[in-house]
Symmetry: C2
Subunit: 130 residues, 2 copies
DNA sequence: AATGTCAAGGATAAAAATTATTATTTAATG
DNA sequence: CATTAAATAATAATTTTTATCCTTGACATT
């Protein structure tokens, strides 16, 4: 688990307390929505602006530090970018779980085009909610 | 390819000209955003309200007639629900292509939970744009 | 065909979400 | 520490989506 400071140091972005807190909050939660992120950050930086959160999220996304997740029936969530993986989303509690994708058996997709990125979402009810 | 009228007749929803036009437009385009849909519909029904389009899209989605697609960096698109399949999204022209998912080789995912639904997105540059 | 009922449409307002603007502050650099 | 570019906060503006209210239309039954 890379620490937040290095993520920023290895980018052209400046290291600011707000950014560190944003990254640490995301890292701690795994995946988080803008709203929840804002609520958390506000505890430490009561004066932070929602616009700052939005701007930073997008800046960090553009830098390839963050990744956006689009669950059905929920707002976008964000996570620290790491190895490619899938997301399982619980329809009851909304929790998002990562899972490994075994690429050992590739369906023949390359005929369509070169693939740069991929997203895989699975939906169901997680063990805790069953 | 089911016709739009039957899709509605097999649901508790009433068959209205606006709904037929919405479904036919989606069917003709394969995948479409709310904006584009609204623009198309307006040609035939100049008086239609954007709110009506929103309302119908969500009603049809709730009935399981439509499916929402969430491309990275683009607004939601909608399609007629059919057999499960993946989506390839061209990063240049934004066009969305369907592709078949071969389920013959299943990675061991069931340990997480029962899977109800899934979404698979691939991103790259399509042949036309290369 | 006429009628009654309930859902759907249109217009608009309201709410929610996102982005833009500007002045001020702060991080990084020499 | 002084300079410069970038980030923040505050606010306004814009965009997107949903809710409300009233009218109209679909459709089953007569």
């Amino acid at each position: 688990m890379k620490n937040s400071q290095n993520l920023l140091k290895n980018s052209p972005l400046k290291v600011t307390p707000q950014r560190l807190e944003i990254l640490q909050t995301i890292q701690k939660n795994g995946h988080i929505s803008i709203d929840d992120l804002y609520a958390h950050i506000k505890e430490k930086f009561p004066s932070i602006s929602l616009a700052t959160v939005y701007k930073n999220i997008h800046t960090l996304k553009d830098e390839g530090i963050l990744l956006e997740i689009h669950p059905q029936d929920a707002k976008s969530h964000f996570e620290i970018k790491k190895e490619p993986h899938g997301h399982f989303i619980c329809k009851k509690c909304g929790k998002i779980y990562d899972f490994e994708i075994k690429t050992s058996c590739n369906p023949n997709l390359s005929e369509i085009s070169e693939i740069d990125e991929s997203e895989v979402y699975l939906y169901g009810v997680c063990k805790e909610c069953q």
